[in-house]
Amino acid sequence: MESSAISFMSELRKTPLNALHRRLRAKMVNFGGWDMPVEYPSSGGLIAEHKAVRGSVGVFDVSHMGDIRIGSGKKPGGALAAVQYITMNDASRLAIGQAQYSAMLYPHGTFVDDVIVHRLGEDDFLLVINAGTREKDIHWVRENTKGFDCVAEDLSDAHTQLAIQGPRAAEVLQKLTDADLSAIKNYWFTHGTVCGLRNTLIARTGYTGEDGFEIYVPSDAAASEKAWTQAMEAGREFGIIPCGLGARNTLRLESKMALYGHEISEKINVWEAGLDRYCKMEKGDFLGRAALEQAKAAGLTRTLVGLEMIDRGIARDGYRCCNEAGESIGVVTSGSPSPTLGKNIALAYVPPAYAAVGMILYVEIRGQKCRAQVVLTPFYKRQKKAAAPQVAGGS
């Protein structure tokens, strides 16, 4: 299975909705070995897609994401112990039906990948992982759960994953399911019938900084197209449009959500990435913990900051950051115009001495030093609907 996956690496992989994207004349790109829609000119393009999600609702095919189920072995408890060992957040604190942002770490405290851990049952977990790191992650999980009484299963090709995102997402999805979506809080999930497809996982998660859902339907083309088409029908009154990876990237950047290979990688540790609140040092031993303890004692040499460009110019991934004197101090990990703010924003790693909000530093753009200012992040935070006070959930 693993070897065959590798031998097909040279061919672009396709999601079950590939033919549909091409019928919609989406602009397709190679994303981590996948033939994926980057934008739909028929939707009005990237900026229109971005604004639809912020203002109303949009739908994304994110079937390239991988899914690993870690279930019980002979005796209960083995799956939880394995998940606790390979991820940095505390999965024991999850209720059944709850999910958490987490990450898998190398022994030196840097990132194998970030994941969303769903607790399906007392000793049953679903880890949703990135597309570009699928094979690596699955191999990593298998290797590092060997010593535990659990079963790790790659379900990546079993699901078509659709993300319905935006302030109207709940209204759209509610038309298609018998599950009561108002009962699902942020980062919780349930199973229900969606578009006539029974036992569909419905999670109130996403990668846009907006309210929304991710649904996991069977990966056959007929079921996949049915779910997509019915979501489009149900969302018509709200102006729903198909959205591509381009808008997904600008939406997540505004919300300062990390992207593997950019803000997090095998060279960056948890403290540098500022993901402290998802790393539970007190939960007991886990892969990467010892190195993180040492790194904490040693102190940070670089930290992730948000930048807003003052001078004209767009900071892009890989551009150099420098100080007034022109000395190199760091590097941009992601940068783009922000369709919501109308400004050029970026994330960059710089030494803590340059990380204070209001600090002026420079990004070198085609040989020119362009002024930028360190700003508070996230760049964009959605307004929570005024509602009855809720008991705070786990993060």
């Binding site: 000119p41 381009g246 990237n249 600008t250 767009i314």
Partner: protein
């Protein structure tokens, strides 16, 4: 969108319109479509020299930076200042209002080597076949 018959085109998707030794240069409809929403344009100042085949500026969309290559050599006499505030004009009218620079050519005859409209249309049709295969 139709490709004006009076223009010549490069393989890098620029167009050039020549009248005497004066030329107007822009990027093609195909180029703007490939880029997506244009948000930023950087152009040389009047007086700058440009050289055929060399980059003279950049056009950026939300997701990509694209160099603009000179279809011919010459000296810039005017740039389209409107584009600084309205870069989206490049998406809306790439062959007209969104011209980039006007240039006094060193050798106007050299543009004969560039593609005419039918040749350019065939060229992008062929490229389209490659990408969808």
């Amino acid at each position: 969108m139709a490709y004006p018959k009076s223009y010549r085109y490069t393989k890098e998707h620029e167009w050039i319109e020549v009248k005497g030794d004066l030329a107007t240069i822009g990027i093609t409809d195909h180029a703007q479509h490939e880029l997506g929403d244009v948000v930023f344009v950087e152009l040389p100042k009047p007086g700058a020299k440009i050289e055929a085949g060399k980059s003279f500026g950049t056009v950026e969309s939300v997701k990509a930076v694209s160099e603009i290559y000179a279809p011919a050599s010459g000296q810039v006499i005017e740039t389209n200042g409107e584009l600084q505030n309205k870069p989206e004009t490049i998406n809306n009218d790439p062959h007209g209002a969104a011209w980039l620079i006007k240039v006094r050519l060193t050798n106007a005859a050299a543009i004969r080597d560039l593609m005419d409209a039918p040749a350019y249309e065939a060229y992008i049709a062929e490229k389209g076949m490659e990408t969808s295969a």
